[in-house]
Amino acid sequence: MTASCALETKVLCKSFGALAVANAINFQLLPGARHALIGPNGAGKTSFVNLVTGVLQSTSGQILLDGEDVTRLSQAQRVKRGLARTFQINQLFRGLSVLENVTLAISEREGVAGNFWRPAGKRTAVVEEAYALLDKLGIADEALRAVRELAYGRQRLVEIAVALGLKPKVLLLDEPAAGVPSSETGTIIEVIERLDPTIALLIIEHDMELVFRIARRITVLVQGTVLVEGTPAEIAADPHVREVYLGERVTP
């Protein structure tokens, strides 16, 4: 059973002094999953992503990628094992072109990024792949523009493109629609819906419309603890979730 999980955490804990941002989180992400992690502000969602990706070191507990323990591995080593993420606030190379942003990721995945002598732009296979990826996301026409010149909604797509350039088995999207005007959320949702179905996807989101459109499974995190997990219908009906997350009172 364990081996079939794309990503799994066992009793994962992290605290900063007295503040526990992850409190014995047991979590399973199955291959090809469309899973959402929701919870009120400060529930520890982004901390969870940071723990899983290795930005933060856990205090105790285990993180397994495809059945292998990666708890002690560096960020880079986890990425090599097929784990990719996006950030809640864009983390891009703003001065570089869109194409180069993706090229950097693909070069890294292909293991050619440490090469000293061959001009980066002449790695045609890498650049072509990057271009094709941009084309798929509908931003190829801006390939040569610097990221900072793009509208924020389009930058969000570059953020996803960079992660996809790593050909991840597990993809963590941290609020992909954050900061995007509502008229453009549709594009983001479409891109996510068209993702390769073999990718195990964990999406952290506030936008409930997006969550219910994409997720087939939802985990609710409150104060670093998993409150409940279930199908969207179960979650929508759960009185505790309504109480803590939607702010409604449970009527007896």
């Binding site: 891009l92 440490g114 001009p119 732009g121």
Partner: protein
Amino acid sequence: MTAKSAAHTIATFARRHRLRPMEALPWVLAVAAYFVFPDYLALGAQILATLLFGLSADLVLGYAGIVTLGHAAFYGVGAYTAGYLAAHGVGSPIIGLIAAMVAAGAVGFISGLIILRTQGLSILMLTLVVCVMLQEAANKMTSITGGADGLQGMEVQPVLGMFRFDMYGHTAYWYALGVLFLGWAVTRTIVHSSFGRSLTGIRENVARMNAIGTPVFFRLVTIYTISAMLAGAAGALIAETTQLVALNVLSVDLSGTILVMIILGGVGRLYGAFIGVPLYMIAQDRFSTIDPTYWYFWIGLLLVLVVAFARGGILGMADAVLRRFKRSP
């Protein structure tokens, strides 16, 4: 998207790596300068050597984005290594040069391993401290370095056993130019490579580089070591061509000055050093003999103005002018 525009985009993306005719200009000018200014070859050789130092500093500062206040550490280690060998019977300049690169590279590698894990003010302080530590060590180890009096008794043999260093600086000039050319070729190759681009990525956004699986620390140590080797070569050039090594080669002053020179030309542009270093050194040669006090004042003022109004340095301004020129036909 049509296949044609895809091909066009990809070709455009690759085109920036090609060698442009303009890139021959520095070398044409350097050769021309030899014939036009035969009385200034000694200064010319110093400028060429400092240019190599500038290139090495730009790799670290302009490309990898490591703000260092101690780059003279490597330059000084190179200068003392070559100088010490020449004073102790190993007078071959090429051997001195290689030894200097190895020694400076080793110092770069070890100090890089220690200090590149930190960020911000810490890294700035640590680069600074490494430099002052080495200077203090050189100051106290008088038996090896000659201390405050400088290294005595260097005897540099002819280059390749054929070209004797003359008092006019003919040999020095060509020797420095040759080494600079090699250094430039290496630097240019690196900054255009995938490795070089990944350094730019680190400078632009470390968090994202980590998230795409880049071994950031390893890359930084690598470029720091390479840059240290080039700085060491520059130091060796200065030692061999002037036959003089004193404590100032390890000074924080020099670490700051080299930054000033490359900022003046434009950082992270490869050719910034080619503009800034000669300009600074020629101006210094002209003006500082009149009054070094004024010199410091104007350089300080220039720095303040560059930061306030011309962040890209001279090359950056040229870019901006060209762009405006292109836009309005």
